[in-house]
């Protein structure tokens, strides 16, 4: 090069300035400019700030690095909505500092887990996930039940976040464990959006009697599905745990079908989104097999 002396590559200060401006252009357009727009700070009308117990739970969720395996955002894609529920809205995350959307689903998305299961499910599943899903790779978090909430940190958090709280809320924390806190946090996730079952089976369309009645294959397939999804709540041998034992259901075949398909608000998730009608009848057959004895 002939004009080395005048080139920018011979002037370190000028070079540094130009390089800095170059990287700041994209930074401004995609990061600083959006920050000044209202669309980046939306809030759903019925979104509530975290309670002291929920905030303590969120802190524990962060401490344990749950985000390494669980996302908290449902994409507006058919399969995502089918599996998890309504897609995530921007206004749901107003109080999230930081966001916990995550980047990896080694475990399922948790954006709509609030209210999907009863509290007992979370207590038992956190302590021993393998009792629910035999081959689950989730670590056991039983130790949370033996640890008291760090009240000092929770109060400091409430203060800096400007979340209003009452002294009796803090008093109540004293008797709570970290397990109580994380369950409280999980149970409020995604609840600002009114819950709607994505797939509901119309009761009128369900046969009174199982079309698979008397088929041994159906019982076997039902048992396989049961082992996969149901043992946590109903017990290894359907002896009952969080949910009832099968020996005493007292429900008709049609009622069983509708229950498995559509679930029971706050007690049992519905399975119509991930089991075909045939699979649900298989499960009904398996449940029925306990009655005969």
């Amino acid at each position: 090069m002939s004009d080395n002396k005048n080139s920018i590559y011979s002037k370190a200060l000028l070079f540094t300035l130009v390089a800095t401006i170059t990287v700041l252009i994209g930074t401004f357009v995609t990061m600083f400019y959006p920050m000044m727009r209202a669309e980046m700070h939306p809030k759903l009308e019925n979104l509530q700030p975290f309670t002291p117990l929920q905030l303590a739970g969120r802190d524990i969720y962060m401490r344990e690095g749950c985000m390494n395996c669980h996302t908290q955002t449902v994409r507006p894609l058919k399969a995502d909505v089918l599996r998890y529920g309504d897609y995530s809205k921007a206004g749901e995350f107003y109080y999230d500092r930081p966001h916990l959307w995550g980047s990896k689903r080694t475990g399922p998305d948790l954006a709509r887990v609030g209210g999907k299961y009863p509290d007992d499910w979370h207590y038992q599943h956190m302590a021993n996930p393998q009792a629910f899903y035999e081959k689950s790779n989730m670590p056991k978090y039983a130790f949370l039940a033996n640890k008291k909430i760090n009240i000092e940190q929770t109060v400091a958090g409430l203060k800096v976040l400007g979340i209003p709280y009452k002294p009796e809320d803090i008093e109540a924390l004293k008797s709570k464990t970290e397990m109580d806190a994380i369950v409280a946090y999980l149970q409020q996730l995604g609840t600002a959006v009114s819950k709607k079952q994505v797939v509901l089976v119309d009761e009128k369309s369900v046969e009174e009697k199982s079309p698979l009645s008397g088929k041994a294959d159906a019982v076997a397939e039902g048992k396989r599905l049961y082992q996969l999804e149901c043992v946590g709540c109903h017990g290894k041998n359907a002896e009952g745990n969080i949910g009832p034992a099968f020996a005493d259901t007292g429900r008709s075949e049609k009622e069983l079908f509708v229950l498995i398909a559509n679930g029971l608000e706050g007690a049992m998730p519905g399975y119509a989104n991930q089991f075909t009608r045939e699979k649900i009848w298989d499960l009904v057959e398996y449940v029925k097999s306990f009655k005969k004895q």
Partner: protein, 470 residues
């Protein structure tokens, strides 16, 4: 020729330190790879996956990656400016502070003190230490460049300047948080905005910690170890400016299909696709440099490290942008495809070039030859096999996972329950552990070779001194 008394003590110190942290990070990597297919390998609260995965990424990124960059940059800067460091004692202090900092940082992650911002997990006291560390480094490197004896700055110095400036901006902005206690803070930004700031940071941390610094090494050590000049200076110029310009627009490709406003996502995707061009500018430049005499691939053992490295960089920068496209993102996002992608970059490009740079520097500092070219070749082939096996198994299982999540029955219900999509990964995750073991074995060959080269250099120096005194 310059005969300055270059102070290489700090360079050596950083190289030894980064290798130490590298071993720790790799071993923990093996452990968490096992935890993914057998939960019994989670040992209590401190050694469970949730904390150790963060430990793994941070110790390798900050301990191995940035540690190596500090050391190699100090070497490059004094060579390219033809003068000693401006503040050698400050550099020595930097080295000690670095090791103390990583030790403390690693401890805080095991304790669960985490901001939960990916690749920016350190809590605020550690963040302050990192900023101090970076300022010390910047003063020395920039000061030395400003006071240089060589008028024109070589390509590597451009990339070093861009790294120093951009990392400072990224790190400070994203880590702004409101401290509640000594070990707990909350992000200054909330919700959607928090996500946008975090991935503006997260993607560019990859860009300015694992792309520009490695290119700085590549542009210096490829010509040095082959004896061939860089093919095109003009191409280097175009690649440099378009790379650092486009990178900062792309963070939102990590947030495709999230509630982030669509226009930011689309802009991110568009610039991500554009980024192929400057990335391949460097790839082409590398290939054509060796094109003038391919025999160096055979005769100069380091050439293949750089050519394999730049090849993986090329593949990485094709794969990455394609992942940003909405339709592909919808299949592979959140799956194991992504760790497969990341590890091609970190194992195939970053580590390959860092190792090769260290192979060049250590004999040079100790005024000797490499202990064993044969061992270096064995190292090369083993890590190559380990890395390919790692990435390919992850890509396969990632596609399988994404497809299983999406598949529906004729009646519209999902075909697989979530746990079925998890356990289907297990055979691949087991293969990945094997691949990881292979890679680590390869790295042990590297460590041994470097250790023996240092010993050899010391012995030769002692012999020379003895001869001089005799």
């Amino acid at each position: 020729m310059n005969e300055y008394q270059y102070d290489y003590q700090t360079v050596k110190g950083f190289i030894v330190s980064c290798l130490f942290w590298g071993v720790i990070g790799l071993v923990i990597g093996l452990l968490i790879s096992i935890q993914l297919w057998n939960s019994d390998f989670n040992f209590g609260e401190y050694l469970s996956f949730g904390r150790l995965r963060t430990f793994h990424t941070n110790v390798l990124a900050y301990g191995l990656g940035i540690g190596a960059e500090f050391g190699i940059f100090y070497y490059l800067v004094i060579r390219l400016t033809k003068r000693p460091l401006l503040f050698p004692k400050l550099a020595r202090f930097h080295l000690w502070l670095f090791n103390v900092g990583i030790t403390l940082a690693a401890w805080t992650l095991l304790m669960g003190y985490s901001q939960n911002l990916e690749y920016a997990e350190f809590e605020w006291p550690i963040d302050i230490a990192v900023v101090i560390l970076w300022v010390i480094f910047a003063i020395n490197v920039m000061g030395t460049i400003f006071k240089r004896k060589e008028e024109e700055m070589y390509i590597s110095l451009w990339y070093i300047i861009a790294t120093v400036v951009t990392v400072a901006i990224l790190y400070i902005v994203n880590n702004l948080s409101i401290p509640a206690t000594l070990f707990k803070s909350y992000h200054l930004f909330a919700g959607v905005n928090s996500a946008n700031v975090e991935w503006w940071y997260g993607h560019n941390a990859v860009g300015f910690l694992f792309t520009t610094p490695i290119l700085a090494m590549f542009y210096y050590f490829l010509p040095k170890s082959t004896g061939l000049p860089i093919y095109s200076h003009r191409l280097s110029i175009i690649s440099f400016w378009s790379l650092i310009f486009a990178y900062l627009w792309t963070g939102a490709h990590h947030l495709v299909y999230t509630p982030l406003p669509d226009w930011i996502q689309t802009l991110g995707i568009a610039f991500t696709l554009f980024l192929i061009a400057p990335s391949w500018g460097s790839v082409v430049n590398g290939y054509f440099t060796v094109e003038s005499d391919w025999s160096v691939m055979k005769n100069k053992y380091l050439t293949k490290f750089f050519i394999a490295g730049i090849t993986f960089y090329g593949l990485q920068t094709i794969q990455g942008p394609s992942q940003g496209i909405r339709v592909i993102s919808s299949l592979i996002h959140y799956t194991d495809w992504v760790p497969g992608h990341v590890h091609m970059g970190t194992m195939g490009w970053v580590t390959m070039v860092i190792c090769a740079s260290i192979y060049y520097i250590i004999p040079h500092i100790y005024k000797t030859e490499i202990y064993s070219v044969k061992l270096a070749n064995i190292h090369f082939w083993i890590v190559l096999i380990g890395q390919l096996m790692f990435s390919i198994t992850m890509w396969i299982t990632g596609i399988q996972q994404g497809a299983m999540w999406k598949m529906t029955n004729p009646d519209g219900s999902l075909k697989y329950t979530f746990i079925e999509t998890v356990t289907a990964n297990y055979p691949y995750w087991q293969m990945r552990t094997i691949a990881g073991v292979i890679f680590v074995v390869g790295m042990l060959f590297f460590l041994y070779n470097i250790f023996m080269t240092i010993q050899k250099g010391k012995k030769e120096l002692a012999a020379k001194l003895a001869a001089a005194n005799a």
